[in-house]
Amino acid sequence: MADNTIIQQGYFTSDGTDAIISLRSDVDWIEVYNLTNIEGSTQWAGCTWKWYRGMKDDDAFTEFHAAASQATSVSTCSTGYNGATYRGITLFDSSDKTPGAAIAVTAGTDEVQPVYSTADTGKLVDGSIVRLSLTAQVDINGMDFTVDTVNTDTNFRLANALDNIPGIIAGANGYWRYIAPNADIYNMFHPKKRTIVAISQANPGIVTTSVDHLFETGQKVRLNIPSDCGMEQLSGQLVTVTRIDAGTFSIGVDTTGYDPFLFPEYDDAPFTHAEVIPIGEAAEYNHLIDDALENSAFIGLILGTSTDAAIALGSPGGTSGDKIYWRAGKSFSARTS
């Protein structure tokens, strides 16, 4: 890549959530323009953001309307203005699976969708993936989960319902770690195996996974059900997925007469989790894994925003409906110390 090269540009309409921009190569800078805010004159609205390699995560230089006019002032997202700090821009490598820092869980409910209290929800949004540890709900510890119903700096809930209640209220010595912004990025290879947290006794049986599965109708998967988890009749079976929603799919097998699935059993560790293994696509079963195991890792940038309207107004991810333009590039670095 030659010096001072724009490697990509684009635009999108904000949906009010963090925007993840996948790039075709490594990147040294990005400039972001919120056309909606630039054309308007809303006080405290962010107009442009500039991020350069070497800046800290979730930061950027920003220009904003300091008054209800089109005149602009300059600050950084981390310094902020109007008494607030704003979300910024974060360089992101989806092949890096290093978990985030441990953040304390102060309590957790005993429900099939446990709610975990925490004073810091960090970058969590609905659909983010977390890993729980030492929450006292032993069988759940060490596992990854998709979360929903994120209440900023208050609590979050496991998005996909467990088969049973954990049987114990989570303790105050636990913690959670941020793993990925969503299931797409959680997968370096697609599709990926998933841990099963529930299988219904029904015709057809319905499987629920701890992390959104991303399987498509017609894909072939194998179910591995260790004896600790019950419903051993399904173990080793090859089934065809019929997608129901992000967290569940049906398997075309009548499980009505099978043993009940058991998860979690709070005092059963150590044990092996039940899992679903992607095998191949449906149309050509013998043509193994034709579309499976695609390496979907990428380098990109996260343009942060917030569910708090005042913060979203000054953040690069914007408010729902904002038209946002961006361009990113690669540069020759000099004197970076």
Binding site: R177, P270, T272, L293, N295
Partner: protein, 219 residues
């Protein structure tokens, strides 16, 4: 003189890039196996975690499963010989894992170090030893899922594979290219040369029943 220095730099770059290329291949294959292979947790250890440290019964379960799935072993047996301190080695599947596990492997019942093989010269450079029908190959870039145990410790993925359990498929008719562009072709002022590699291949599990990820924590 300039030419000689250039060649020395190129030689060094070629050596380093060669290592980088093959290590990148290994990392991609490793990550594919970690993402997709079915797993069995070690459960018979005593460290209280889930998974536990590796034990003989965990190894036996993996071997039993691979045998039941009709996986072929990769290595032939090593016949016993009349040498002190040696022991015959069974025909074996490969177990690919991190160098961090070497201490725990030493402690597993029935572990045979490679210098105890009747013919140690036949052991692979990366081989650490054998337990039952598994021969362990260790690497500094062995697979680790960070902070993923019950107690929040690192979980080590030990990929136990039978013959032809996975493959690397070359794309576009080549596996790798080493590319050198002399300065005259690399910029208008002919100041800088470029050297690098590219490769296009995809790791694939060919039969999911012939590869098992045995997950373990450290003792």
């Amino acid at each position: 003189m300039v030419t000689k220095v250039t060649e020395m730099v190129l030689n060094e770059a070629a050596k380093r890039l060669g290592v980088s290329l093959r290590q990148t291949e290994d990392q991609l294959t490793r990550d594919m196996l970690a993402a997709t292979a079915g797993f069995i947790n070690c459960t018979d250890g005593v460290n209280g975690d889930n998974p536990t440290e590796i034990t003989r019964s965990d190894v036996d379960e993996v071997v039993r499963t691979l045998l039941s799935n009709d996986a072929y072993t990769i290595m032939d047996n090593i016949e016993g010989d009349d040498k002190f301190g040696t022991a015959p080695v069974r025909d074996a599947y490969f177990a690919l894992c991190s160098t961090q596990l070497t201490g725990d492997l030493d402690n597993v019942s029935g572990f045979i170090q490679k210098n105890q093989y009747p013919a140690p010269m036949n052991a692979l450079r990366s081989e650490w030893g054998a337990i039952g029908n598994l021969r362990f190959l260790v690497s500094s870039i062995g697979s680790v899922t960070e902070l993923a145990s019950n107690y929040g410790n690192d979980v080590y993925n030990i990929f136990c594979v039978g013959m032809e359990a996975y493959a690397c498929i070359e794309q576009d008719g080549y596996s790798a290219s080493f590319i050198y562009r002399p300065p005259i072709y690399d910029g208008p002022l002919a100041l800088n040369a470029s050297v690098g590699y590219k490769f296009a291949e995809v790791p694939r599990i060919t039969n999911d029943l012939w590869v098992i990820n045995l997950r373990a924590t450290l003792d």
